[in-house]
Amino acid sequence: MILSIEELSIAGRERTIVDNVSLAVREGEFMALVGQSGSGKSLLSQSIGQLLPPNLHASGRIVFEGSNLLERTSKEMRALRGSRISYIFQDYQGAFTPFRSIGGHFDEYQKVHGEKSASVRKTKAAAALESVGLDAALLRRYPFQLSGGQLQRAAIATSLLLSPRLLIADEATTALDSVSGHRVLELLVAKQKETGCAILFITHDWRHVRRYANRLSVMKEGRIVESGGKHRILDHPQHEYTRKLIDAAPVLSRSLKSGLEEETP
């Protein structure tokens, strides 16, 4: 169990947005968190890294590698973010500071996480870019000189740069067309196989869930309504809301099979 969220509530001054949520992510698995917009899944992911907006307060426990993240100081969290836990968001175009080179970003992230040798940083950055299928020469380029696809890969490379144990992909494919979305996920899954990191994948797209997830949780209005293995939930949804969500998924046939029979053991 790499991450275990226990009875987490996130509340603003007036209302509770995430209510008593418990969720576990196992070592090396692909866990999907599914829900409509506004169900609180993004806030949940932000609370893991202590990234909530200042007007929101999280209570409960978020246990990562055996310690409660909500009790960590902001300095300790800074050291964790980017190195042990990293994030991927949907907007790749704006992922890099416009006036800094791509290599500058790679260099800075390693520097703040304690890599002192400049030549090691450089080698690592080049290796990271090459591992996502990009030319290391891109390190000298600026964000506006890269195409959307290149930025996307480079952004993923920065997230994986320091081999995190947990990768949180917050709607990482939402803004992409389905082919690019699948390409990003293929890349993530391939990197996951290499590094063994766990992925918490936040989405509302059932197609991705069906294809890539091991387990999933369904979230509605700040509560988890159903959790379990992918095949169990997709083929035999227990909760009314899960059934509704699956029915609303954009597929031609009215049923969305988990794909159990297609998989080779």
């Binding site: 980017g82 990293s86 994030y87 890099f96 500071t97 006036f99 800094r100 992230y109 703040v112 920065t158």
Partner: protein
Amino acid sequence: MKSMPARVRTRPSKSKKHSVQAIVAALFALLVIAASVYTFLYLKHDPTLTDLRGRLLGASTLHPLGTDHLGRDVLTRLLLGGGQTLGYSLLALGAALVIGIPFGLIAGYKRGWVDKVFMRIADGFLAFPDTIVAIVLSGLLGAGISNLVLAIVIVKWVSYARLVRSTVLSESQKDYIRIARTNGLSDARIMTKHLLPHIAGHVLVLASLDLGKIILLISSLSYIGLGAQPPTPEWGAMLNDSRPYFQSRPELMVYPGLAIVSVVLLANMLGDYLRDRFDVKKEVQP
């Protein structure tokens, strides 16, 4: 994937005009600075030495612009006065920037109650018009150019704090700042390395446009006797000194007046150019 479109920069003709202006301005500024430095290093005439026998002389090879009512060389005083006026203006501007930028940066980045407290302080300062503050300060601390600079700083830093804050407010919502945070960068690092360079352009434009205003302010307050005290050569003070001789020797007022006008124009031209150069829209669109 490999081919990279070169960044195409098409400038409208207006900014071309401004870049011509900028070259003219830069040349003129260089000339003025060179002349000031030259005068400073090789003083032919003591700018404060009075010579009552040689007062109000016309132009000659010894005194290219003549002498004033106390027999002091006008050209020397004019050039040294330029150094005074410009120097103190830049000092005031620099101090306003040093206070205003970090103030706005922290307020805009931290938001919440920090922002509220910081901005109410700024609003408090904004309530005083610059001339009033200058007059009050010279009343309290005595007339003098250092008090004048202080007064200008007190009034001017607020506009920088506000500008920086508003830019940071919108900029820090963008994803690259969020991603910098999720990658474990400290707030201080994000502010200095990822936000500050972005706002530098905006600040530079406002500063260069302000420079003209500050020069005018220093000159005009010196003219009414609140700034530079005699015998310091300063353009506003020189204007004031030559006022009684306007009928007989009008050029004594024309020289410092022209100097003020041209330097203020120069600063504005520079500001126009910088505004084009750091156009926000151009920056956002690749």
